[in-house]
């Protein structure tokens, strides 16, 4: 709590917030994210083991993502812990050996890749909270007053906050209803597998909570008719691959 404003000052972020906590076996990683004026730009991520000293993480690269998907099991809690690549992917290990480096992948890289995956897959915002200007940059919609209770119960009122994948595949009829300034993202309705989100109204409807079943531990909250929303991840950092069996 006390260290985040200091981060904002040091890194000149416009907004910095606590992203969540990934629990390892021997310790937990606390993650914070910071953004500049363009909300859709790649976010800078920082991690800390004790919420006091934060270290910046490099942005994820595609190789890192591909390799980290193969790693299974819990995080160790030690950022310099090295996973042996040879067991996982012999090709990548061979490439690294030729390059003169050791065939290992550090837990830090796995951390980066996991956060990126989680943000991409289940980072959500309510519809209308962000607008896209004609120039392409994305801002918060200051005119957003929150979803109504009816809208808040529907999955279609929430969007993934990443590059849209399915937007262009919609039929022309659906596209006619879209408002290009607010509907420029994928909605949650068509997530595969269906039913991978659990919507609950807590406290008699004053707060709507969405929990992701694909990444267990991702919780999104929104208070209807207000501007308050946000999501946080508290978990082990592992994808729930058994989801189709569990529904």
């Amino acid at each position: 709590g006390a260290s985040l404003p200091l981060l904002q000052r040091d890194y000149r972020f416009e907004r910095v917030w606590f992203w969540g906590c990934i629990q390892g076996l021997r310790g937990a990683y606390y993650i914070a994210e910071g953004l500049g004026p363009n909300r859709a730009a790649p976010r800078s991520r920082l991690y800390s083991l004790n919420c006091l000293d934060w270290s910046l993480l490099t942005p994820a690269s595609k190789e890192m993502l591909a390799l980290a998907e193969k790693l299974n099991g819990r995080f160790q809690g030690d950022p310099s812990f090295e996973y042996n690549l040879a067991e996982i992917n012999a090709e990548a290990a061979a490439r690294l050996i030729e390059g003169g480096k050791e065939p290992v992948i550090k837990e830090e890289a796995r951390l980066i890749a996991t956060i990126e995956q989680i943000d991409r897959a289940v980072g959500i915002v309510p519809r209308g909270a962000f607008v896209k200007t004609p120039l392409g940059s994305v801002h918060e919609n200051r005119h957003f007053e929150g979803l109504s209770l009816l809208e808040a119960k529907k999955l279609s009122s929430y969007f993934h906050f990443t590059e849209p994948v399915n937007l262009k595949n919609k039929t022309l009829l659906e596209k006619a209803d879209l408002d290009p300034s607010t509907d420029f993202l994928d909605s949650l309705e068509h997530d595969i597998p269906r039913g991978s989100w659990s919507i609950q109204l807590e406290k008699g409807g004053t707060v709507v909570v969405l929990r992701s079943l694909l990444w267990l531990g991702l919780t999104f909250y929104h208070v209807p008719m207000t501007k308050q929303f946000g999501y946080v991840y508290f978990g082990t950092g592992e994808k729930n691959l058994d989801l189709p069996f569990m529904l």
């Binding site: 076996l25 819990r74 409807g205």
Partner: protein
């Protein structure tokens, strides 16, 4: 546009009387006319919407001046849209809006009911000795908050109050807040309870008696049918199947083993508590093989393979039993065996050790040997105490002893021995290279008040804390066990092999008429040949 320099074009135009439009509107009269024309243009009603620009601007500016938002020029388009939209809202509606009973109000009503103290309670202000111990939920919530887990204070307090209601309703001896299991539509709040002896068993006995009488009736029916069957045996009957289903493993008695505690659940504090049925070993065995999310409704069916014997209430109970058996721990030495001799599986009774001295928090964090399970682990059979199923079946079915013998020879089940009761958790196996438990101190900054926190890695969501003599354990999670590998559902059993075909049962083709005649002729010839031979022999003998 700063003051123009003489060499720039436009120099001098900002002086009155020198603007570029001067020559167009030379005198004030004409300017007034121009203003009127402009205003008339603005007042021109739009053919499509019936609005005019003048009124629209007036409304917009009124709204802006009333609300005075920041950076208005950036959101001016949205304000304009809002004003237009507001035009369409009728102020006088002929239909009166139904007074919507929002769910917020219902929930608030229920919560308020929790706070109301019943009138009858005032008479029983004296503390009975048999008053059940209400757990201090707020205190445990405080300790877990030190660890960073738990519910928010409001919800903890509501749970506290609803537990109090539960105690008033049911004859409860001890009660504990077990935890919260998340579900898809609704969550479960679970209380672990021990009823007064004799109270809960009455229901069970009647239930069992009903089951027994039903079974007896069925037997009588069966015997009557058999008698009829014997009379009809002369008629051809298809062969009766000799298949006997494997004997059902009986569930443990209330108050022992997996059914030591009774569990009550509710979806939200304020809703009535529902009692969960006792768990049977078959349910536990099946629950180990499937992994399903809870929906939040107790009567939801569980569609799975192998088919789960029961609905969601049974599955919930089975998972609660597994979690309790796996993660309920206490500091070593806090409990001791009632009889020092009975350290075998039969030792189910433990009591608090009055001479227990709590080790310091640092030690509790460093070594896992300072914690011990105090709930029996569940064997593969699904019970805490192993039972030999074939013994029981002998008592019931004395008629079919012959067949029983054959079966017993084939399937002798090995006696399963579980770990004794108070094992240290350091002996818990980990999975691959993940230890079964992770211990931490709640804070490094203030060691004298820090609390030792234990997280289970086998059941993510199970936590235990200890601080001096105080300790407790709780579960917040989805209700599933952690496995490093993905869950593989059980494959359906292979299709049963058909009876092998051989000459004994293969249907042969019936001989045709020609073949029969030819066979008959050949037979007669053979007979005739034998007779001739016989005659010849007789002739030779002579």
């Amino acid at each position: 546009h700063g003051p123009y320099q003489p060499h720039e074009p436009g120099y001098g135009l900002d002086q009155p009387g020198y603007s570029p439009y001067e020559d167009e509107v030379p005198d004030p009269q004409a300017r007034m006319l121009a203003i009127k024309n402009a205003k008339a243009y603005l007042l021109k009603t739009s053919t499509r919407s019936g609005l005019n620009l003048y009124d629209h601007f007036a409304n917009m500016l009124t709204k802006i001046l009333d609300e005075q938002p920041e950076n208005t020029v950036d959101i001016i388009e949205d304000i304009s849209k809002d004003v237009k939209w507001a035009q369409f809202r009728k102020k006088m509606d002929t239909l009166r809006d139904e007074h919507l009973i929002l769910p917020i109000f219902e929930a608030a009503e229920k919560c308020k009911a929790l706070f109301v103290k019943e009138g009858g309670e005032e008479e029983h202000e004296e503390l009975d000795e048999e008053m059940p111990s209400l757990p201090n939920v707020m205190e445990t919530a405080f300790y877990f908050e030190q660890a960073g887990i738990g519910l928010n204070k409001d919800e903890s307090y509501y749970i506290f109050l609803s537990l109090k209601n539960l105690i008033n309703v049911q004859p409860i001896q001890t009660c504990r807040f077990w935890g919260k299991i998340l579900g898809l539509e609704m969550n479960y709040i679970i209380a672990e309870v021990q009823l007064h002896e004799g109270e809960g068993e009455e229901e069970e006995e009647t239930a069992e008696e009903e089951v027994e009488t039903v079974a007896e009736e069925e037997k009588e029916m069966g015997e009557a049918e058999e008698e009829e069957g014997e009379e009809k045996e002369k008629e051809a009957e298809p062969p009766k199947s000799t298949y006997k289903p494997p004997p059902e493993i009986p569930r443990e008695e209330n108050g022992t083993g997996t059914n030591k505690y009774i569990y009550f659940v509710c979806n939200e504090p304020g809703k009535p508590w529902v009692k969960l049925p006792p768990v049977t070993p078959a349910q536990i065995v099946c629950a180990r093989k499937i992994k399903k999310f809870f929906t939040g409704r107790l009567d939801a069916p569980i569609v799975s393979f192998p088919p789960f014997p029961g609905n969601e209430a049974n599955y919930l109970r089975a998972q609660i039993a597994r979690i309790s058996a796996g993660t309920h721990v206490s500091p070593t030495g806090f409990y001791q065996f009632a009889n020092e001799d009975e350290e075998e599986e039969d030792g189910d009774a433990y009591e608090e050790n009055p001479e227990f001295e709590p080790p310091p928090v640092a030690e509790m964090v460093e070594s896992l040997a300072t914690w011990a399970h105090h709930v029996k682990g569940i064997l593969k059979q699904g019970r805490c105490v192993w039972i030999n199923p074939s013994q029981k079946s002998e008592e019931n079915e004395e008629e079919d002893e012959e067949e029983e013998d054959k079966e017993e020879e084939g399937e002798e089940q090995e006696e399963e021995r579980g770990l004794p009761l108070l094992t240290l958790i350091s002996e818990d196996e980990g999975m691959k290279n993940i230890p079964a438990w992770t211990a931490q101190a709640s804070t490094n900054l203030i060691p004298q008040y820090s609390v030792a926190i234990l997280q289970s890695n086998r059941w993510p969501g199970a936590y235990a804390f200890a601080s001096g003599r105080k300790f407790d354990y709780i579960y917040f999670g989805w209700g599933h066990k952690y496995s490093p590998e993905s869950h593989t559902p059980a494959l359906p059993p292979p299709a049963q092999a058909e009876y092998s075909s051989g000459p004994g049962i293969t249907e042969t083709v019936d001989p045709t008429v020609e073949e029969e005649i030819a066979f008959k002729i050949a037979q007669e010839e053979a007979l005739a040949g034998e007779e001739e031979e016989g005659e010849e022999e007789e002739a030779e003998d002579d």
